[in-house]
Symmetry: C2
Subunit: 495 residues, 2 copies
């Protein structure tokens, strides 16, 4: 067997074990009784250790060296080899001791955070968070020296490969300049239009589930290859051939759950559309979190909160709940789904204010990793940033720097991908509509097939063949930018 | 680290991976959409390969040798080391090529069987089954030479360690002599008593589920450490700290599902009661399939189909469905749950005729493995055996030698454990009641705590500390025998 072929065999096994891990994670969030937590933690640790062992096996390094000495001529195989090396680099960059120390510190910190958050007690968790940060900085520095990038970029690389600080700054500075005025305008526009009407509940939970499943199928979700279930925090899990999304239902509001389901369906369609020929291989996997988020936001924000889709969907919603009155008109529904508000909480934010939340976190975590800031300064820096970006100051750290799990769980370098995803969503949707006139018409009829066909060819089916920018250039003619996003916002919020 | 301690670390990881495998299997039967089958097969194959790799790692053999050179003085550690060696022997006995060939041949054969069974077309599958048998014979011979036992005993050892043909013959010949006359008597007795009344459905499915859950809790099932779900074929899966049983509900008959649930609850209680200090270690796991089946049959057959339990449970059932009339009296319910009938299908058989089904299969598979019989002779030998043991002859192989999946899936040596379990159930229950007078009184009140406390100490908590006979001798004063079973049958069916 030649080295490359042997590598495919090895990574196929790694991929299959990671899929198994994915199912176990899904089960933990959706199915597992609470008494199973300890044994599940042990199962997952054993899986992680096994996968890590395969990636750090010295013979794998030899195979990679040998394969790179006579690289495959086929483009996909060459890309696969590159992604194998990326996986290898990340797994081998950091000593096992540091990985374990970070894993333990993060678990400890996350537990303290769960107590501290509801009380807004930042002081209770700051020492533990400082310990996590110290270890993350060590990890970042080690990876940075191997990848030849800045420490923060080494963290970004784990979620969104090849991303550079300069590129993010370029995008985010532009947005940070654009958004404050735009937000004022959008709010003024919204006030002038008056309040939309709110459909009155209660909304039967089974009717909500059945409506969600119906609209998922319109988007293209195939229930032979996936599921819809309930969990505390909605997510998209499972594996490409068995992709599982979750939601939670509230009796007095169906729209939040429904839009969440459509968001996760976007993630699911990406996973389902990944190149089947490269299943379980590194190149066959999702490119990164920015592109992943672009697919959920494309379905939710670009399409499903737009008037074209709601023209089709509002009557379907109305019928599902037997609703009556003007609240159910597509125009009213659309205004309800495009409300803008200055708020403290990222996960509740609309698409206009969301980037401000992300930019704040990006700037703070960059400074923390660079050593330009310490944990003790976080609450005041947070509040200053909120004031600058959104003009409001949280009255408690509970709705300030304690609100998100990411840092307390050791995840630095993830936040920017949310807004990169929002930008990509607008850019991709614009290009798709320009390329195929039947896409918008399809959406007005509840038919996503033209859109999904285009996405499968131009985004989903690319897997990790190129970088995000390479995929975007081929699909949209340009690297990631703010132009399409800004024109989307103007069209939706100032008209 | 001394060799034994290092072995504990290794086997703990193996145990955790096997638990992960258990959850993936459960998911496959209960949750997975059909389109996930191919990727799940790949995940499970990767898990199996990983576990096999850990068990056949040469360094494990060295550790076992070293640990055996200076064995631990602690009894449980010594027993654990013995069970580690057993695991090692089974994993290392057979070449990877043969394991793979058998796995592929079994999958192929099982698929052909699924087509052939409904048509009663034995000829369609006989060639494929002969191929499986040929490979199983090879495996049996290889293992036999290593274990120093007969080939068929080497297969038995996979399911019920240390079992000898002579012991099974001794038990089964005794039963084969006892049962024909006893069956005639029981049927005459049943006829003389007249037909019991049948509660009339439909029985609401949600009420069935809720009744099942309620009675599970009476038995002692803890829903913080387990679940009840639906699957095509009821089973007990999951892991000891998260034990998951399944059933299926029929609208026109609640009792079959309910008795099935109570049966699986018996399995679940065994898993939950395994020694927590030895979780994930070989000695901490269930002893074998005979003792496992004894625990399900003890709960279902010994207890839940008996008049003491039904005196408590019949009113509960009646209330669950709002039933009225004499059909719901404990006496009538008990007669319904103890019907005897000569039938063709093992899984539908009552406890009187069940052993005949097992003895037939045992004799046939023993002859097949020994080379005293070939696949082509199976249908006629089956029908001859049915005539001899039960006095009836199936009109089609569909309800004859094609009915069970076991052989077509490569599982030879499993069947005897069902009846060994039935014998053990009677013997254990008799000993438990003799040891603790509050057990029977508890059951009449729906309180299984005294029984389960006794079982936890004397059976469940033993794990694999001794052989089945050693555990039985300590718990009941005698090795596995037929006496308690026969007296149970006489008490229940001739009174």
């Amino acid at each position: 067997m030649n080295p490359y072929t042997e590598l495919e065999t090895r990574f196929r096994r790694i991929g299959a074990l990671e899929e198994a891990e994915g199912i176990l994670h899904w089960d933990m969030s959706v199915i597992m009784p609470k008494g199973g937590a300890e044994s599940r933690a042990e199962q997952l640790a054993a899986m992680k250790l096994t996968i890590h062992g395969l990636l750090t096996d010295p013979s794998l390094a030899s195979l990679l060296d040998a394969a790179e000495d006579s690289p495959p001529s086929d483009g996909w195989q060459a890309a696969n080899l590159r992604e194998m090396r990326r996986r290898w680099r990340h797994a081998n960059a950091v000593e096992g001791d540091l990985v374990e120390a970070l894993s333990k510190a993060s678990s400890r910190c996350e537990m303290i955070w769960r107590e501290a958050r509801p009380k807004g007690n930042f002081a209770a968790v700051s020492e533990s968070l400082a310990e996590v940060l110290d270890l993350v900085r060590q990890k970042a520095q080690t990876k940075a020296s191997i990848l030849g990038v800045a420490p923060y970029e080494a963290l970004l690389d784990q979620f969104e490969p090849e991303t550079r600080i300069a590129d993010i700054d370029h995008l985010f500075d532009d947005l940070a300049e654009f958004l404050p005025d735009f937000l004022d305008n959008a709010l003024a526009h919204q006030t002038a239009a008056g309040d939309p009407l709110l459909p009155q509940g209660p909304f039967d939970l089974e009717a909500q589930r059945s409506l969600a499943a119906k609209l998922m199928e319109h988007v293209g979700f195939d229930f032979d290859h996936g599921r819809l279930d309930i969990s505390l925090h909605p997510f998209c899990g499972g594996v490409p051939d068995d992709v599982r999304i979750t939601t939670r239902y509230e009796e007095d509001d169906f729209a939040q759950s429904l839009m969440g389901v459509l968001h996760e369906t976007g993630h699911a369609m990406y996973e389902r559309g990944l190149p089947a020929d490269w299943r379980l291989q590194p190149v066959g996997q999702a490119r990164g979190m920015a592109l992943h988020e672009s697919q959920s936001l494309l379905v939710e924000m670009q399409v499903c909160r737009g008037i074209e889709f709601l023209t089709f969907a509002a009557p379907v919603m109305q019928a599902a709940f037997g609703g009556t009155g003007a609240a159910w008109s597509p125009e009213n529904m659309q205004r309800l789904q495009a409300r803008v508000e200055r708020g403290f909480i990222r996960v509740d934010a609309d698409e206009v204010t969301y980037p401000a939340h992300v930019i704040l976190r990006y700037r703070l975590e960059r400074a923390l990793i660079a050593g330009d800031m310490e944990i003790v300064d976080l609450p005041s820096a947070w509040n200053d940033g909120m004031k600058e970006l959104l003009g409001i100051v949280p009255e408690s750290d509970r709705v300030g720097c304690l609100q998100d799990i990411h840092w307390f769980d050791g995840a630095f370098g993830y936040f920017p991908t949310y807004t990169m995803g929002a930008l990509a969503a607008a850019q991709i949707f614009q290009a798709a509509c320009a390329a195929d006139g039947s896409i918008k018409a399809g959406i007005s009829d509840g038919d996503f097939a033209p859109l999904m066909s285009w996405l499968r060819v131009n985004i989903h089916g690319k897997g990790s063949f190129g970088t995000t920018d390479e995929i975007l250039i081929e699909a949209t003619g340009a690297p990631l930018g703010t132009k399409a996003f800004k024109s989307h916002l103007k069209a939706r919020y100032l008209n």
